[in-house]
């Protein structure tokens, strides 16, 4: 695993076409690469550098600035427990310690079976449902110790694979069109519709990991009237 697949090469070129300057597509393309391999490999980043006409150092230097990018392989599920203030006030460090014991790894570590990587995360903006965590960046709120154990069991058994995609998957909805307004993308001319390798619509209604919006549900905003 390493270089961008032909499909992803094509998608990368479509991303480049959305920007006035090609380097702007670097971070979206790195997400694409991480979605493909679960992390950013040297070969993959080399491929991206070639595609964008950048040096390996420019790509690596950018990638290392951002917390979401992993330059080493990680577990199948990256469990990020928020310990920032809103979650801390609701017992997040107890949850994190419990997670360490349950998984047998410290933050930053990966379990021997390669299933779980544990992280101590900064605020994930789900503070109405503290303490919260994400698994491969999908949200779970109001996580008590029992719910954490259930979550781990469900993940282990593959019961959540529909709502928790493989690590690195950013968006499962693809943009349906290139630039249309007559602006010149970095590819030269405004591109026409792009072939949809991914759906352009997804039944987002069936997803259960919508806790950020759940915090907005009945009872929590009615007082705002």
């Amino acid at each position: 695993m390493a270089r961008l697949t032909p499909d992803n090469q094509q998608r990368a070129r479509e991303l480049i076409a959305l920007y006035p300057h090609s380097r702007s597509a670097l971070i979206p393309i790195l997400h694409l690469l991480q979605g493909q391999d679960g992390y950013l490999s040297e070969d993959g980043m080399g491929d991206v550098a070639e595609l964008l006409g950048l040096t390996a150092a420019e790509v690596r230097g950018t990638a290392t600035f951002y917390d979401m990018f992993h330059l080493e392989p990680v577990g199948r599920y990256v469990v990020a427990v928020c310990t920032n203030i809103a979650c801390m006030l609701q017992g997040a460090y107890r949850l994190l310690e419990h997670a360490e014991e349950r998984l047998g790894v410290a933050p930053g570590g990966t379990t021997g079976d390669g299933l779980f990587t544990l992280e101590d995360a900064e605020c994930l903006a789900l503070c109405g449902n503290a303490p919260c965590l994400t698994v491969n960046w999908r949200f779970f709120g109001d996580v008590d110790l029992g719910r954490f154990d259930t979550l781990v069991e469900d993940l282990r058994a593959g019961r959540l694979d529909d709502e928790v995609p493989p690590h690195g998957t950013l968006s499962r909805v693809q943009r349906a069109t290139g630039l249309q307004a007559g602006g010149e993308g970095a590819a030269g001319a405004a591109s026409e519709g792009v072939p949809a390798a991914l759906p352009t619509h997804l039944d987002l209604d069936t997803r259960r990991t919508t806790a950020a919006v759940a915090s907005m549900d009945a009872g929590h905003l009615e007082g705002g009237t």
Partner: protein, 445 residues
């Protein structure tokens, strides 16, 4: 009781079934604001926004209309929407993008038309994949509906919107760091002057950076007029504000409230809002506008949620995140966690922030673990003074951006207001409040 019957301008659809779809949006009158805007001149929209006096909802509270007026006249010209919400305990933009992406798209288009932008980029925090998916799906729907792209709704107005994901860096919420990131680089803030985005922004071109909540107000403002918006609120604080209430209340959540009409007491104790402090505990202190803002105490409960009122007691409304803490809270621990956050997120360009944040974290850690010295209190204040001379509010700064000066308020609040609690840690050799220690293993910064 002063919770008013002001309309819900930006949160009306949040929590409704399938609120993120075009179908729901149109059934609720969606895109009428854009149609109305296209029948006006850009100057007329700008006038409405000036009359409405919308203060930027990202944290700095700068008048949106004034910002638009500062644009350097040149081509191309860009609109970038800041959806990189990462301020601890702030979760309003997350809810707005995820719950009502069409409103954000419509507001962005109205803004783009008013300022004459050539392209729009919605910079969305990378850790919000569901928000990105819904926004991308909504954008596809909007293109198919004719609301985005070439000759929008049959008019002469054409523009594209691109959803741009971040990749995990708090500093990219700072507007110039966001532009660097959008250019595919490390998120290093630029020095101002000269890099005010309205003059030298994305790719060096004049650029407007507006917050998600700010532009989400625009469809309503265009439809109802700037005067209707300005009729809500008081003084400089017009309209409504989405308040993210977290921490030790019974009902944390997002609440849209009329600005300058509701007090912190209402927000925390009204049964329709916060519902009181958890377990009916006593309130010890609260952070009124994101963790960068100076702390307030129970004596400030009757202060109104308004920019001027909060500034008058020495703090700020900031991002609209309110964090009450009950009497069981250890203020050393809270200050330590806030400083630890800024240490992890410091971009490293400026010495006072890069080094000072680490020093503050280590010293607070040893105080919390019972190994502090009485001289540590002066040392902490001295480090704060190096980052923000005088440790006053609003803060002076020795750094390129305000990330560094965001640290001293939490430390100074502790030392000035809760000095006895700090001293108890040092004299007793342990934290007097449970749990009396920090976690055994802390992630390496």
């Amino acid at each position: 009781m002063t919770v008013t019957d002001a309309p819900r301008i930006i949160s009306a659809r949040l929590g409704k079934p399938r609120s993120w779809t075009l179908e729901t949006y149109l059934a609720d009158g969606g895109y009428r604001g854009l149609r109305a805007a296209l029948a006006m001149t850009p100057q007329q929209i700008h006038d409405h926004v000036n009359v409405a006096n919308i203060l930027g909802r990202g944290g700095a509270g700068f008048e949106a209309g004034r910002k638009w007026g500062m644009l350097r006249k040149a081509e191309p010209l860009y609109l970038t929407i800041n959806g990189d919400e990462s301020e601890p305990a702030t979760f309003k933009d997350h809810a707005l993008i995820e719950g009502d992406p069409h409103q954000l798209i419509e507001g962005s288009l109205i803004c783009a038309y008013a300022i004459g932008a050539d392209q729009v980029f919605i910079y969305t925090r990378g850790e919000f994949p569901l928000a990105i998916e819904r926004l991308e799906a909504a954008l596809n729907e909007a293109y198919a509906y004719g609301a985005v792209g070439r000759n929008i709704f049959g008019s002469e107005f054409s523009i594209d919107i691109v959803v741009h994901p971040g990749a995990g860096a708090y500093i990219c919420g700072e507007e110039t760091a966001m532009l660097e990131s959008l250019e595919g680089k490390r998120g290093y803030p630029r020095i101002k002057p000269p890099h005010f985005p309205a003059a030298i922004g994305l790719y060096g071109a004049p650029t407007i950076v507006n917050n998600v909540e700010t532009v989400s107000n625009l469809p309503w403002v265009v439809l109802n007029g700037g005067e209707a918006f300005a009729a809500l609120g008081e003084g400089r604080s017009k309209g409504t504000k989405l308040i993210a209430l977290a921490g030790h209340v019974k009902r944390p959540g997002n609440y849209e409230l009329e600005w300058a009409k509701v007090s912190f007491r209402d927000l925390m104790y009204d049964p329709r809002l916060g519902g009181g402090i958890r377990d009916d505990n006593e309130l010890k202190a609260f952070i009124p506008g994101g963790v960068s803002s100076p702390w307030l105490g129970p004596e400030h409960l009757d202060v109104l949620l308004a920019n001027d009122a909060i500034a008058a007691v020495g703090s700020m409304a900031g991002s609209g995140s309110v964090i009450p803490m009950d009497h069981t809270t250890c203020t050393v621990r809270v200050a330590w966690r806030i400083v630890r956050f800024f240490h992890r997120e410091s971009c490293g360009q400026c010495t006072p922030c890069r080094e000072g944040s680490g020093w503050l974290e280590k010293i607070l850690e040893r105080i919390e673990n019972g190994q502090g010295r009485e001289s540590d209190l002066d040392l902490l204040m001295d480090i704060c003074d190096n980052i923000s001379p005088g440790v006053t509010w609003p803060p002076a700064q020795t750094t390129i951006c305000v990330l560094g000066p965001s640290m001293p308020p939490a430390v100074a609040a502790g030392i000035r207001t809760f000095r006895d609690e700090y001293l108890a840690h040092i004299r007793e050799g342990r934290c007097p409040l449970p749990p009396d220690r920090l976690p055994r293993k802390l992630a390496h910064v």
